[in-house]
Symmetry: C2
Subunit: 307 residues, 2 copies
């Protein structure tokens, strides 16, 4: 079973209370790919880079089952660059630099070899590009997952509303859910957002876990309490990759299995934050992931006897 | 099985984004009693009030199995008064007024009829009064639970450190855990605090749930996602009352049962915030509590298949 991923492949410069790095490979599609390939292969990447993107990174991705036919390499141009600085709580950050570079003229093209994929992960990107990819597919995938952010709510709301009508699962964080709905209560926000198109809404709360809403159902997944969060960059994309990777692997789109998929996504995200960039996602094995999944079971498992 | 509770019985004035109330019965021991008596009776109260404290409230507490021999009523004086205003997020508040009144000269006395109780809930109060109550008991209770706050960490740290050496379970919120330990990471904070005396540490995170730490074990309990949090006053005390009430009812002090006790405390706290003051705790039945406990099971229950 394959997963198509649309998103950025980029360079990041990151400053956290624990350290600083000037230039490291990042981008939403990069993190999704490194996470999802632990669960399912191939991951069919749609992205754009400049000639500065490292060939070794492309080789590493290929080795892990990432197909790169949909990645445009633009000669003599630079890859997308993002620079940010995290606050002490690691849940908030300031963007210092956003150099679109090749992303400014990105026109994603779905290669023929990607047609008939049943799972589509639309990473955080301009909503009109997300729409374009959906429209290029001959057959609607079984599941379309969308990640987006406050920036598009503020600058491209009409396009965003269109894409919300075309997808199944929306991933946003708590402040974005409040912004999109105009409601402070996340329960009320979820009700409104589920009326905008998505059948499932996942609200990510960083170190406070994630909530899944569907019809009248709600599920809460904790984040693993960690001694240190070293670098949260890419944690949301990694979560998304683990989430859709699990669903594509099991081909089970029930609410019960969505819950499990969120735990798998949370487990992968808990590795991502341990080092700068996607490094930890390259190091971990299936055994490491299984150990962490068992920690999640321990973390929330309880017996109840009624009063 | 009985539970001794030390704490305030008071009047509160509360302002939230949803409403305002000038004078309502409150106080840590009041909330603990209304919560715990749903699970276990009698609750043996130790507190102090002025002649202004309503007789109907005393009668209501008695009716619910609260013993009041340990409550001193001071003629011609006023009960403790607290006034606060909540911010929009309901997790933070400003204290506007603190009139100690009768609390200024409070010297708690444990009645003979309370001796041999096996469970002691030390509600938020001056640490030297918490120590005094422990010392007055002929036999150490099986379980001593302590609630405290940042104010005592800042003004009575030596007394607080003494009482930490005498108790079993400490309840504090996340910012208090950071203040007490000097660590930002809650996992690191918990390790340090568990070395100060308590065998169990519960870190409350308001709408983000609660964490239980014991040795190398950690358990996470979510808060129920609510449409509206109307008034969070007393939610922490209600949680404490439900927690110790469940443990006293079941007489099982295992880590597994502590987990269940946290869920019971969370369920009761989720009622408390629905109306001003302890009103909802007076209205609910065992059936209501059971329904909510089942909602908690639904909220966090998941199946895991390993990768």
């Amino acid at each position: 079973m394959s997963v198509i991923t649309l998103g950025t492949m980029a360079f990041d410069a990151i400053e956290t209370p624990f350290g600083k790095i000037d230039k490291i490979v990042g981008g939403s599609a990069t993190y999704v790919a490194y996470a999802a390939t632990h669960l399912v292969q191939p991951v069919q990447q749609i992205s754009i880079v400049g000639s500065d993107f490292p060939e070794e990174e492309m080789a590493e991705l290929k080795k892990r089952g990432v197909q790169l036919e949909g990645v445009q390499i633009i000669p003599d141009q630079k890859s997308f660059f993002w620079s940010g600085k995290y606050h002490l709580d690691m849940n908030t950050r300031d963007t210092l630099i956003t150099d679109l570079n090749v992303l400014a003229d990105f026109n994603p093209i779905v290669p023929d070899s990607y047609q008939n994929s049943e799972f589509l992960m639309l990473g955080n990107l301009m909503p009109r590009l997300q729409i374009s990819v959906i429209k290029q597919l001959n057959k609607r995938p079984k599941l379309i997952v969308l990640d987006t952010m406050n920036f598009w709510m503020e600058t491209a709301l009409v396009d965003l509303e269109t894409v919300l009508g075309l997808i199944d699962v929306l991933l946003i964080n708590d402040s974005e859910a409040r912004l999109l709905s105009g409601e402070f209560s996340l329960v009320k926000a979820a009700k409104k957002i589920l009326q905008m198109g998505p059948k499932y809404l996942i609200i990510k709360k960083g170190e406070h876990g994630a909530l899944l809403f569907h019809l009248d159902h709600v599920f809460f997944a904790p984040a693993l309490p960690l001694e240190d969060v070293f670098d949260p960059t890419g944690a949301g994309d990694t979560f998304a990759g683990g989430f859709i990777g699990h669903l594509a692997r099991t081909k089970d789109l029930s609410f019960e299995n969505m819950k499990t998929a969120i735990i798998v996504g949370s487990a992968l995200a808990s590795f991502c934050v341990e080092k700068f960039g996607p490094q930890r996602l390259k190091e971990i094995t299936k055994a490491d992931i299984d150990i962490r999944l068992r920690e999640f079971v321990q973390l929330v498992n309880f017996d109840i006897d009624l009063v």
